[in-house]
Amino acid sequence: MANIVFKNINKIYENNVQAVFDFNLEVKDKEFIVLVGPSGCGKSTTLRMLAGLESITSGELYLDDVLINDIAPVDRNMAMVFQNYALYPHMSVYDNLAFGLKMRKFPVEILDENNNHILIVDKYKINDLKYDIKKYKKEINNSKLKIFALKNGFNIKLTEDELNNIIKNREKDIKKNQEEIKRLEENPSTYKYKMVKMPKEQIDEKVNYASSILGLTPYLKRKPANLSGGQRQRVALGRAIVRNPKVFLMDEPLSNLDAKLRVQMRSEITKIHKKVGATTVYVTHDQTEAMTMADRMVVMKDGYIQQIGTPKELYFNPVNIFVAGFIGAPSMNFLKGYFDGKDFMIYVVEEDINDPKKEVLKDSEIKIKLNEELRNRLKDYVNKYVILGIRPEDLVLFKGKNLNEGDVIKVESDLSELLGNETIIYSSINNQNLTLKTENEVNGKEHQEFNVRLKLDKVHFFDPETTNVIK
């Protein structure tokens, strides 16, 4: 069982750069969550905060309803796979796998002569409560100081009443904690246990199990330097599996592998996830990886969550231009245009002579006739600038002669790429790029004019100002 809850998590680095803004997410047990986004979007930071390697500036992080903001990485019972594997080069594969088990101590219950549990006073909880009391007392003192400062005419954000309220509440909390401590001290509540290192045989067993899952048994005595990239990656995975953690964390684990191995390891990780069944949080910048592996995806940009959902949801119902463009390869086409109440007119995009970064939109005569449903969708955008988005596979080469149906446009090809089973044609219309995917065989001539039909039921419209989808 492992549920993770992120509540309003923020991360501000010491140099005042904010990497993550108000991150909210609930990860269910046994779920495979993929955080995906371009580099620098805060996905790795989020993962490292979850692992405990990075402090959380504000917000709350729960693992199984326990607040783990300030808990050390060791005690979170998570295992992480790093991008560069982070194997210990001086240890053999076996030692690499066993290291995490050797370092840890595990609680073992102590039984009396009749094999019954011995009840003792829960010292940890008492210490915890005492720690809280100390914290509350500090807060009270702080508030008292602030009140004193207020009376002497200093500027402080809170009013006196609010500060008094804080003091009152904290005093109540202290009383509650003290009562709780008294109760705990009088009634022994936990089983007596001791921390024990794992016996060698058990470590052996676990390492052998993990290495058999990953096919590493023949290499147990080798050092990481004598392994191939894929094998090293598997050792890194094995190190996580051996520990039997509540949560798997993976930080771009496949980006150091070559393309073929990456595809292979992708399916292997999915299989292992199904076998082991632990909650997994996976970070990647590769949307293909995310699409193929995820139960749910979290798309991030510049520290903000853009959209959370299953790969299908994200692919077919993106909420904004960023998600629409990020998911899917080749990415979605965006046509700038004008809705006049009936049709969508595609703008001619020209460079501004004075400022090369700006562009000038000019009217053209190319129009796409929209059906009733789309007109309805755009009813708030009559006589306004909108962006039409359509995926490359929803554009079809049109060889018929009736060009007046309204959903057929004439485009000019720039370049075509043959992928074997399909061809990607890069073309343009009114200076706007349009990529299309086709399974037909195409003559790879450049600057050729041909007709393309849009599947109007697959079209998305976006608001150019908010970049959100128009529903």
Binding site: M80, N84, A86, Y88, L227
Partner: protein, 308 residues
């Protein structure tokens, strides 16, 4: 007019023709590095230098094996002892205070190397892998102490040693200079190549800082630690000036370097010279052994391979 002339001076390079020229390069002149000619030159040159270094040492070695009653002929270069004997070594070892001095020297060398290595590891780790305020200032100050020559520190060190009273025992040799800044920077430079993710992974595996240092960092920096050990052992073993200063302050501690003058038992003839040679060889043997054993690890990089 002047401007026009200046503009004409600038010659444009026609890259297409320059490519054609490159194809017509004289093949005899354009040889790749590592050609046989260069190899022969390198071997001859290196052999010559090695010979210059080793040959005097070899002559001393032969000298030390000469029988005491031998009268060497000045016209002959002895490449082999006339009458082979180990008697000179026996004489040298029985010089008064030899074993005591050996004990002190070993104690000095081992303790100094071990303690300074420990300090260097901890400080280097702190400076590379931990984040704290003023880190740059601290490492800057440490680096600045390297600019101060050791001789300048001798008088203050001497006074401190006297005040602390450590000049009466072997600590007077060990403690001054125990923070070896050179060692710290040597280790620091190497530790910077160890990726942080390894340490993070160790942290998630349940290592605290000390375990991180001794289970991960130290084994991974084995090559550089061995380099440091060799350099420090050699320099500490050979130290002469500081032990002499300590001795002059009334310290009973005598190192091997200080008793070298005693390898002159006054046997007459040329025998004293042979004993002195044997004494010198005796003193150098431990260092040569240390070097011989550890030299294959000397800054070998093969340990850090396999990180990616």
């Amino acid at each position: 007019m002047n401007n026009n002339n200046k503009q004409k001076v600038v010659r444009r390079i026609d890259f297409e023709t320059s490519n054609n020229i490159a194809l017509r390069v004289d093949k005899r002149k354009s040889k790749r590095a590592g050609s046989i000619g260069f190899k022969i030159f390198a071997y001859v040159f290196l052999t010559f230098i090695a010979f210059c270094q080793v040959f005097p040492f070899y002559l001393k070695l032969i000298d030390s094996f000469q029988a005491p009653e031998t009268i060497p002929n000045a016209d002959i270069l002895y490449l082999w002892p006339e009458n082979f004997t180990l008697a000179n070594y026996w004489t040298a070892m029985n010089v008064s205070g030899f074993w005591m001095a050996l004990g002190y020297t070993i104690c000095h060398t081992v303790c100094f190397t071990a303690i300074s290595l420990f300090i260097a590891i901890i400080v280097a780790y702190t400076l590379t892998k931990l984040e704290f305020k003023g880190k740059k200032i601290v490492s800057g100050l440490l680096l600045a102490t390297m600019m101060v020559p050791g001789e300048v520190l001798m008088i203050p060190n001497y006074i401190i040693a006297l005040k602390m009273g450590i000049n009466q025992n072997v600590f007077g040799l060990i403690l001054p200079g125990i923070v070896n800044v050179f060692g710290i920077f040597l280790l620091k430079q190497y530790m910077q190549t160890i990726p942080n993710s390894v340490l993070e992974s160790a942290e998630m595996d349940g290592c605290n800082e000390l375990k991180k240092i001794f289970k991960i960092i130290v084994p991974m920096s084995k090559p550089v630690i061995i380099t440091y050990v060799i350099l420090t052992v050699v320099s500490t073993w050979n130290e002469y000036l500081w032990p002499l200063i300590m001795q002059s302050s009334g310290s009973p501690v005598q190192t091997l370097q200080l008793i070298m003058y005693k390898f002159y038992p006054g046997l007459g003839n040329y025998a004293d010279g042979f004993v002195r040679s044997a004494g010198m060889i005796l003193i150098t043997i431990p260092i040569i052994t240390v070097y011989g054993v550890f030299q294959k690890y000397f800054l070998s990089q093969n340990n850090i391979a396999g990180m990616k």
